[in-house]
């Protein structure tokens, strides 16, 4: 709210962002195709983390159902890719599930534009509808979190059960090209990587805008005291709905990018485990800071990838311990750690406030 002056600190931060962006854009020159593909996936996850941070870190709503939104976006894109790969033929899994012609709701996904739009709009609309009921009924905190888990169960069970339409547990895989470019070629992969970097930057800036706006301040106020906000004259339910929908849309977009990089989406990606993992990325990176959330997603996935290669038979032990230690002893995550070093002298952080629990 103060005038934004070009203080040295601000300059440094700007320079840091520029360097990070430059590094990301030039990564294809330094890393192997496989690593690039991996990095691209991590960046897609970073996008989810940003969206999740908006509702958890800033608004104090913990959704353990973001896998659904991520998955919806991913499925929308997967449906397009599958139809594109089939070249007019029925997708293979429909064949072996006894379906003879393309179901009506699949048909529009033959168009890339429709699929891309649906990949963002469907999760957002679903979130809006869910949010309308839950937030209007003032379901929050733990109750909301557990409710989202129930939704995850419903969605995955349905997806798995409707194998003829969704590919069942296998999910949708076996793509060949996107908009005529072969997915297997390194050039396409590089292009997709750059698109992902660009998307990450755009989403990051968009989140910055939201967080910095008065809207963002109201969100933080809701986190601090939802009822208090109500007595000032805001309707928290609307704000929660909107930010939930935005967050879901962002997750959907990340899901689309994920499919393009990984080449498969299956109901397991919508399950409870990935949904909790997404939240953990944010927790470990540092909730309530956008950089932290994005960084957390990249770091955690990198660590997971490395650990599982180094100790394929015991890596979950390390991951579990890491989660425990960070959540319990570093509630502000990696970003909080850096922040503590930097700003210890600058602000008086009153002790008795302790660690704010954002949601209750």
């Amino acid at each position: 709210m103060q005038l934004k002056k070009m203080t040295p600190r601000r300059l440094w931060i700007l320079a840091g962002y520029a360097a990070a962006a430059a590094a990301l854009f030039s990564a294809p020159m330094f890393v192997s195709d496989f690593r690039l593909n991996l990095l691209a996936k991590f960046l897609a996850f970073a996008i989810v983390a940003l969206g999740l941070d908006l509702i958890w870190g800033y608004t104090g709503i913990l959704s353990l159902g973001h896998g659904i939104f991520f998955g919806l976006g991913a499925y929308a894109m997967a449906m397009y890719l599958k139809l594109e790969a089939g070249g007019g033929k029925l997708p293979d899994f429909m064949g072996w599930s006894g379906l003879k012609e393309l179901p009506l709701f699949w048909q529009p996904f033959g168009s890339f534009g429709f699929a891309a739009a649906a990949g963002i709009a469907l999760p957002a609309i679903l979130a809006l509808v869910l949010g309308y009921f839950t937030f209007r009924n003032r379901i929050r905190g733990v109750y909301f979190t557990i409710l989202t888990q129930a939704l995850v169960i419903i969605t995955t069970t349905l997806l798995i059960g409707q194998q003829a339409f969704t590919g069942g547990t296998n999910g949708v895989t076996g793509y060949s090209e996107v908009l005529g470019f072969p997915l297997g070629s390194p050039d396409t992969k590089r292009a997709l990587y750059w698109i992902t970097v660009a998307a990450l930057i755009v989403i990051f800036l968009f989140c910055r805008f939201i967080v910095g706006s008065r809207f963002g301040k109201v969100l933080r106020a809701i986190r601090d005291g939802e009822n208090r906000v109500r007595f000032i004259g805001y309707n928290p339910a609307i704000y929660q709905m909107v930010i939930f929908a935005i967050s879901a849309g962002i997750a959907g977009m990340a899901g689309m990018l994920f499919v393009l990089h990984v080449g498969i989406i299956s109901p397991s990606m919508l399950g409870i485990v990935p949904s909790i993992e997404m939240v953990l990325w944010v927790a470990i990176g540092g909730r309530g800071t956008l950089v932290g959330a994005a960084l957390g997603a990249i770091l955690m996935n990198w660590a997971k990838s490395e650990f599982s290669t180094a100790y394929p038979e015991g890596w979950t032990l390390f991951m579990g311990l890491l989660f425990v230690i960070v959540v319990v002893f570093m509630p502000k995550g990696v970003a909080g750690l850096i922040g503590q070093i930097n700003f210890r002298k600058k602000r008086r952080e009153p002790n008795h406030e302790g660690v704010r629990n954002p949601a209750v």
């Binding site: 103060q2 008065r214 601090d224 005291g225 000032i232 004259g233 309707n235 009153p350 406030e353």
Partner: protein, 258 residues
Amino acid sequence: MKESAILQCDNVTVEFDGFKAIQGMSLKLLKGELRFLIGPNGAGKTTMLDVICGKVRPSSGQVTFNGKIDITRKKEHQIAELGIGRKFQAPSIFPSMSVAENLEIAMRQNRSVFATLFASMKSEESDRLHSQLQMIGLQDKASWRAGGLSHGEKQWLEIGMMLLQEPEVLLLDEPVAGMTDKETDKTGELLHEIARQRSVVVVEHDMEFVRNFASKVTVMHEGKLLKEGSMDEVQSDDRVAEVYLGKRRDADVSRSTA
């Protein structure tokens, strides 16, 4: 006087699981009036404020705002938008936000999502905010985290937020509870200032504090209206003395044995 009651509560009854917290309470607040609501613990004072600001739905009765609008059916944020502000007993500010940010979002403005998303601080708003900071004496702490303020400062911040909200009716629940004498004095000054511009209902225990204001006092007891009048009238009323001072004596006793 047909000249408008800004707030009219008629025959309000509130039930919690069969227990009647308020039984047929009526209250009429005139425009520009400063009204104190007193009574022993459990008299239903806070619940009365809760009814007015929409936190609690009455099981029967009506609350009319500005002579025409029945607000018992409205939601909290709609009531706040209409112009009824509420300050809770425990300071409830937004602790992780700065003092200035607290004031900024409380300010009277278009509170739709779209408006706040694209709102920018206009110079007129900035001025208002600064003069408010001045008034509550927090001009040097504008960028502090609100959670780091002292108890009294938090109370003033909340009062400041209420004022920027520019309500026509302000409901204050024990604004000086837990304050030092000095803080209490300052709060008194603030209250005088506030009462000049709008209608105020104050729930208060501190008799000394109430006596500083020459205004009407409503005494509640067991969810009912006991007595309404000036401080002197109230104090000379036998029934008030009985329920109130009786309680008072008990309180003294318990304090001395503590």
